[in-house]
């Protein structure tokens, strides 16, 4: 509980404050919830093995050769789950970008970050942080996908000028 609310409860017997701007009475909810999920990556484990080797992997349906990125374990065209992991050639063309100035609180440890979408030469598109000067970006410029290490210590793919 925030110190100021504790104080208000002690003084008034209630967690009710006056909203600074409107002057209206607000009950300050005391039931705080922190959310963090556990997300299964069991079926895309090879993708992360690839990252450790600096490779970008996608999945390919053995039957129809459809290529998936992000990887998925089932092919809806063939109703088949017989897929293989393939290394994607890590070069492509930049399609669009932005720079995120106002960040979510869970990204507050990072400076404003550029995000780009590139079309890989083999077809799939990829969205990732852009490791380069966003002011130098030109439409259609050649880029590569590489693996970098995050401030939080984990490996993640990123887009960089070629």
């Amino acid at each position: 509980m925030k110190e100021e609310i504790k104080k208000i409860i002690e003084e008034t017997g209630l967690p009710v404050v006056r909203d600074e701007k409107s002057g209206t009475a607000q009950w300050v909810d005391l039931r705080e919830l922190r959310l963090s999920y556990e997300i299964s990556v069991e079926n895309i484990k090879p993708f992360y093995e690839g990252l450790k080797e600096g490779k970008l992997l996608g999945t390919k349906c053995k039957k129809c050769e459809r290529l998936f990125f992000p990887p998925q374990k089932d092919c809806p065209s063939c109703f088949d789950s017989d897929i293989e992991w393939v290394e994607l050639k890590n070069e492509g063309t930049l399609e669009t970008m932005t720079v995120v100035f106002v960040r979510p609180p869970s990204f507050s440890m990072y400076d404003p970050y550029p995000v780009a979408i590139a079309k890989l030469d083999e077809g799939p598109r990829i969205l990732a942080w852009y490791n380069g000067d966003p002011r130098q970006v030109k439409p259609g410029m050649r880029v590569k996908v590489q693996v970098g290490r995050r401030k939080e210590g984990y490996l993640m793919y990123e887009i960089a000028p070629l």
Partner: protein, 395 residues
């Protein structure tokens, strides 16, 4: 079964920072006028649908909450969510309920109380509307950033400028200033937009719709009920199209269009008997999903108000002001009226009713000659798209 479905009552709360009311009180603010315009009472409702994206507000069982507050219990209900298109999804649920004959009179309420949470939390939560795992978890995309990727692609492809985007904000503030229900009731100029700080390049603060509390309500009725109740003032739902996009933006072919919106528009036009190649000839105006400035321009093209790559010229030439080719967002749009996520689609329906029945406030009433109004409501970044055509005459 009812061949045609009418909107017979509408209500709209003041949009903005509504720390003066709780969520049930905010709902009642739009429900009361909806009952009054329809000349109905809660007991007359067969079924009700509540659109509310939630997360940032405390109450999850909003249908039950308002059933209690406004004597709707024990009538059937559901809460629907389709991100920023939740309101149109609720209208669809109500529309199909009446059309199928499962209900004769349905109340559709859209409500959002986003300011129960601090702004940073809302920014965090709203960024999670796309592919959480692949595009949020590692890359921290925000809602403005998703659309900024489209805004950049559009500028690069067609040569539109940040000033063109600013002109959308200027127009929507111009009309917001004339709408007593709008969050921002003041005009701005291009310089105000250009000088505001970057949120997600190329979008600046004034390119973005705000974080809003608000509610909107419509009452839908079957053709038979309209006759039985002798309802004079009503509009008809002539058609509605719905589309869904991929979760990952990286799974899309283009960033200068929303495929789901193009798809929804074609369905809606066909259903309403509108020439898909020349829809503006059939419409008196439109509300489009201007959560940011660039998407309004992209919407002009997805809805075929102009050719691909010419949307920015429509705003440059002021063709989407009243008196132009097609007036767009003359209630201020999401940009100036505000964007209480779950209420937006319902608010667009309220605006269609007011425009077509010539009840809009002075200075923002479009000329009504063709008797049709369009609402384009997008959830996420084209993750869901709804296009609805309203008309004075049934099909």
């Amino acid at each position: 079964m009812s061949e045609n479905v009418a909107v017979i009552g509408v209500g709209h709360s003041k949009f903005g920072t509504r720390k003066d009311v709780n969520i049930a009180e905010l709902c009642w603010e739009s429900m009361k006028p909806a009952f009054e315009t329809a000349n109905l009472e809660p007991k007359d409702i067969d079924f009700f649908v509540v659109s509310n994206a939630g997360m940032w507000s405390s109450e999850a069982a909003v249908p039950a909450l308002i059933a209690e507050y406004s004597d709707l219990a024990p009538k059937g209900s559901m809460r629907v969510e389709a991100a920023c298109a939740s309101g149109s999804a609720a209208i669809r649920a109500g529309y199909t309920a009446v059309k199928s004959g499962m209900a004769d009179i349905v109340l559709v309420l859209g409500v959002e109380k986003m300011q129960e949470s601090p702004n940073p939390n809302v920014i965090e939560l709203i960024g999670r509307f796309g592919s959480y795992f692949w595009e949020f978890e590692n890359f921290g995309l925000t809602f403005p950033a998703y659309y900024a990727l489209h805004g950049t692609a559009y500028m690069m492809k067609y040569g539109a400028t940040e000033e063109d985007y600013a002109k959308v904000a200027v127009k929507n503030h111009y009309y917001g200033a004339k709408n007593p229900y709008a969050q921002f009731q003041r005009e701005i100029d291009v310089e105000t937009v250009m000088k505001s700080p970057y949120i997600a390049w190329p979008f600046k603060l004034f390119d973005c719709s705000p974080i809003t509390d608000g509610s909107a309500c419509v009452i839908l009725a079957s053709e038979e009920k309209v006759r039985e109740l002798g309802i004079d003032e009503k509009i008809w739902i002539l058609g509605q199209g719905v589309g869904t996009g991929t979760a990952n933006l990286s799974r899309r072919e283009t960033y200068t269009s929303l495929a789901s919106a193009t798809y929804a528009a074609e369905q809606a036009y066909r259903m309403a008997g509108i020439d898909v190649d020349d829809p503006t000839k059939y419409l008196d105006g439109a509300n489009v999903h201007d959560c940011f400035t660039a998407p309004e321009i992209i919407a002009y093209e997805d809805l075929r108000f102009c050719r691909r790559g010419e949307g920015y010229k429509l705003i440059r030439d002021e063709q989407t002001y009243i008196g132009g080719k097609i007036p767009v967002n003359v209630d201020g749009g999401l940009k100036a009226k505000g964007h209480p996520i779950g209420a937006t689609g319902v608010s667009q329906a309220v605006e269609a009713y007011k425009q077509l029945l010539q009840k809009a406030e002075p200075g923002r009433q479009a000329d009504i000659n063709r008797g049709r109004w369009l609402a384009h409501n997008v959830g996420g970044t084209g993750h869901y798209s709804y296009v609805t055509i309203y008309g004075l005459e049934k099909r």
